[in-house]
């Protein structure tokens, strides 16, 4: 037991002066903003101040004895499919009511103010969630357990006092005042926390290595990897946007545990909002003495710099990321030596992912046992998944490890859009694999998923349906990894190019059965021969697609057919004369004028002119436009 030190306990500097009768909080995550939530937020501010009933106040800055309301922006509220999401909390006669509305527009904001806030009526048809009764979306929330996302969508990420009020920096205080670095490492080891970036390496063990290696000048680095490059994943983005201080606190705790004095937060440039919020958070944390010299009055100092990525997927690989921080081309190098021994500027360095670090303060405050009590076999705790693609409820869900894929997709995700047929789920993005319906009852656990050829990965979960072509999806991932290959090692540089060529050939209807074998063979070689994780995992989408959907590949090469109608070279559109009513709807949408026919007479598609865009197919209400 380390000696007890007397430090300053973190507390909000600006306590709430007013408890508003009405609190409106609007999702201002990237998804929310894309859906127009900024306009909605403004509509609430204006509408409430013009109501003549409420004074719109900032509760920490203004005292108000009259009836007051506050309007704040938060991070991602989870159910992105219903964005913009707006939660209204009203406190009247000692009871509080919470109602979350979805798909809110500025016009609806006016209506919500009039009927709900002023009139006391819950507008049922817009409700997504409420504490008053059950709703159809409750299944999205019921089985989630929010640890990494504990504050996301609740607090204002741009106000450090919001974080402090919600137990912010208490874990750092606990660590600095009553734990030795070794005890912190032991606690994290005991929790069973594994890296949430994809590889699933035990975090405590990683910290142990970094702590053990001596530095020539005493300097060690602690890096947070926020280069979430997996296309289709936005977990880290949401954590950085919604709870930036939790990541900073996790970094400071980790730095203390390994003896690092300097840290870097590497965030990709494609996340401008996350960058903005983390910079605001860092400045506030420095001003309050949570980051910097003699943190909380202790003898521990830790300085953090934000590094903006410049657009290179390979920089998610730890050695490439360090090259990039050093100002070089982000190219990976051979390991060993591992970063724990010789990393950034040849000093012992530890790198953790955003979600991993956001979990650290929770584990310190709630104990390793509480974390380890959740999960499955060797995969403890919870994992955040970004549900996207053809699933009804796209969004962010944090579930205990061990939940089955089917539960996540069909219970939380609500099943497939338009009730189409499920085809596959892609886990782990371009490094992962696609799994078919028959494997949906597998528990989400690092070891179990690895056995299928896919990976749990960083948490991207893209659902594809019968309208998506598996060959095209594999080609999509290969074109991604091929263009992002840094070019340093030949297996990845040449291999991914050859694989992409073959997949393109198959999509164009020029493939042969031999090509499938050839593709599989190169894929195996790239997997074994590549220098870093990018190349070693790039074949996974192709290998799993071949393993579970070989029939669809064979249809492309033998029958020259693409059932989903995606590979345009293999598709023809024609009009069924029996069903065509001559309504001209298809002819109007055809961008190239390939459809002719008089009104009320059967129409015809000119196959020479047709560019196979499918616009007519989607437009026809009589199923007369056919695809084969």
């Amino acid at each position: 037991m380390a000696t007890l030190r007397t430090l300053q306990r973190p507390a909000p500097q600006r306590p709430r002066l007013t408890t508003p009768e009405v609190e409106v909080s609007v999702c201002l995550g990237t998804g929310g903003v894309a859906a127009g939530s900024r306009e909605v937020l403004r509509a609430f501010e204006e509408g409430l101040s013009q109501s003549g009933v409420y004074a719109v106040v900032k509760p920490r800055d203004e005292e108000c004895s009259c009836r007051s309301a506050s309007v704040v922006g938060t991070g991602c509220k989870g159910l992105c499919a219903m964005d913009p999401l707006v939660e209204i909390v009203t406190r009247r006669d000692g009871t509080s009511t919470s109602v979350t509305y979805g798909l809110v527009t500025p016009a609806m904001a006016g209506e919500i103010i009039r009927r709900h806030i002023l009139g006391g009526e819950i507008i049922q048809e817009w409700v997504v969630r409420t504490d008053q009764h059950e709703t159809e979306h409750d299944s999205f929330y019921q089985r989630q357990e929010k640890l990494a996302l504990r504050h996301v969508g609740i607090i204002n990420p741009e106000d450090i006092d919001d974080y402090l009020e919600a137990d912010g920096y208490q874990a750092l205080y606990k660590v600095l005042s009553e734990m030795s670095p070794a005890e912190v490492r032991e606690e994290i080891k005991r929790s069973g926390l594994r890296g949430r970036g994809g590889a699933g390496f035990p975090t405590g063990q990683k910290w142990e290595f970094a702590a053990r290696y001596p530095s020539p000048d005493g300097v060690k680095y602690f890096i947070c990897n926020g280069d979430e490059g997996d296309p289709g994943a936005f977990m880290d983005c949401s954590v950085l946007e919604g709870d930036p201080h939790a990541v900073l606190e996790g970094m400071a705790i980790g730095a203390y545990a390994i003896g690092a004095s300097h840290g870097y937060l590497y965030i990709r440039a494609e996340y401008p909002l996350a960058l903005r919020r983390i910079k605001i958070a860092l400045k506030a944390a420095e001003e309050r003495g949570f980051i910097g010299d003699n943190i909380l009055g202790s003898d521990f100092s830790f300085h953090v710099k934000v590094k903006e990525g410049a657009g290179a997927f390979v920089c998610g690989e730890e050695t490439a990321l360090m090259q990039s921080i050093e100002g070089d081309r982000g190219m990976p190098r051979l390991r060993p030596p591992y970063p724990a021994e010789s990393g950034l500027w040849k000093r012992p360095t530890n790198i953790n992912n955003v979600e991993t670090l956001a979990l650290v303060p929770w584990i310190i405050l709630n104990g390793a046992d509480a974390f380890a009590a959740r999960g499955y076999e060797r995969s403890k705790g919870t994992k955040v998944f970004a549900l996207a693609g053809k699933v009804k409820r796209t969004g962010l869900a944090e579930v205990p490890m061990g939940m089955t894929l089917r539960e996540v997709i069909f219970e939380i995700g609500g099943g497939i859009k338009k009730d189409k047929k499920f085809k596959a789920v892609q886990l782990g993005g371009p490094s992962g694999g696609c799994l078919p319906e028959s494997l949906l009852d597998l528990p989400i656990d690092y070891e179990t998923i690895n056995q299928t050829g896919a990976i749990v990965g960083s948490g991207g979960m893209i659902v594809i349906d019968e309208d998506n072509c598996i060959v095209d999806t594999a080609r999509y991932f290969l074109s991604f990894t091929q263009s992002e290959s840094c070019g340093k090692c030949p297996p990845c540089r040449i291999g991914t190019k050859r694989m992409l060529d073959l997949l393109t050939k198959i999509c164009e209807g020029k493939g042969t059965l031999d090509d499938l074998d050839f593709l599989e063979r190169i894929a195996q070689q790239v997997k074994i021969g590549s220098l870093c994780g990018l190349g070693a995992t790039a074949p996974n989408p192709v290998l799993t697609a071949l393993k579970y959907f070989r029939q669809e590949f064979e249809e492309h090469v033998v029958q020259k057919k693409c059932q989903a109608g995606i590979c345009t070279a293999l598709v023809t559109y024609w009009i069924d004369p029996e069903k065509c009513t001559g309504c001209r709807a298809c002819a109007r949408v055809c961008p190239v004028g390939a459809i002719t026919g008089e009104r009320k007479e059967v129409h015809v598609i000119d196959k020479e002119l047709c560019i196979k865009c499918g616009a007519c197919y989607e437009k026809c209400r009589f199923d007369a436009v056919r695809r084969s």
Binding site: P231, A310, A388, K390, G395, G460
Partner: protein
């Protein structure tokens, strides 16, 4: 080493004196150089800063960056061509980024790009004649729940169809033209 750098920097000083370079931007650039002088690993932030000022990286800017970062020009050029963010050609005032992340791809991103390119009459990486828009394809902007997504500058627009995407660009154009007309 020193001799090599002198060659690389030849003509640079005169460009800094060049009256065609906007003096305000030039001052911003000089301030940026000073801010990072002597800092390790400064090449990327310097290039990012310079690109934020000039919109792209002209050769003389890269030469200045090389000098301040104390690196050979070849390395600076190597970095500038490695990362997707950097451009060696001028770009238009606003950038339309069509997201081609997985969620957007399976939700029809290709047709949105196609339609916007047709509407603007340019290919990815090109600028419109009036220098209002540059269009590019990017991998994932992190708004997968709203797929398919297009970003104009830092603002994201979600759940698009090809038609809606064109409407968004039209509305954006009308808005900026209105602002600039005032």
């Amino acid at each position: 080493m020193t001799a090599e750098k002198n060659v690389a920097l030849e003509g640079c000083e005169s460009l800094l004196e060049d009256s065609t370079v906007n003096p305000e931007l030039k001052q911003q650039f000089l301030d940026l150089l000073e801010r990072y002088r002597g800092e390790p690993g400064a090449v990327i932030p310097l290039l990012q800063g310079a690109q934020a000022i000039f919109g792209y990286l002209p050769p003389w800017v890269m030469k200045q960056v090389a000098e301040v970062a104390n690196e050979p020009l070849s390395k600076v050029l190597g970095v500038a061509t490695f990362y997707a963010q950097f451009r060696l050609q001028p770009r238009a005032r606003h950038t339309i980024r069509c997201c081609h992340g997985t969620a957007c791809h399976v939700s029809g991103a290709a047709r949105i790009s196609e339609e916007l390119e047709k509407f603007l009459g340019i290919a990815p990486g090109e600028n419109t004649k009036d220098m209002l828009f540059t269009i590019e394809e990017v991998h994932c902007v992190g708004a997968c729940g709203m797929a398919p997504v297009v970003m104009i500058d830092d603002r994201a627009y979600g759940k698009l169809t090809p038609e809606k995407a064109v409407e968004v660009v039209k509305a954006f154009r009308a808005e900026v033209e209105g602002e600039e007309g005032r």
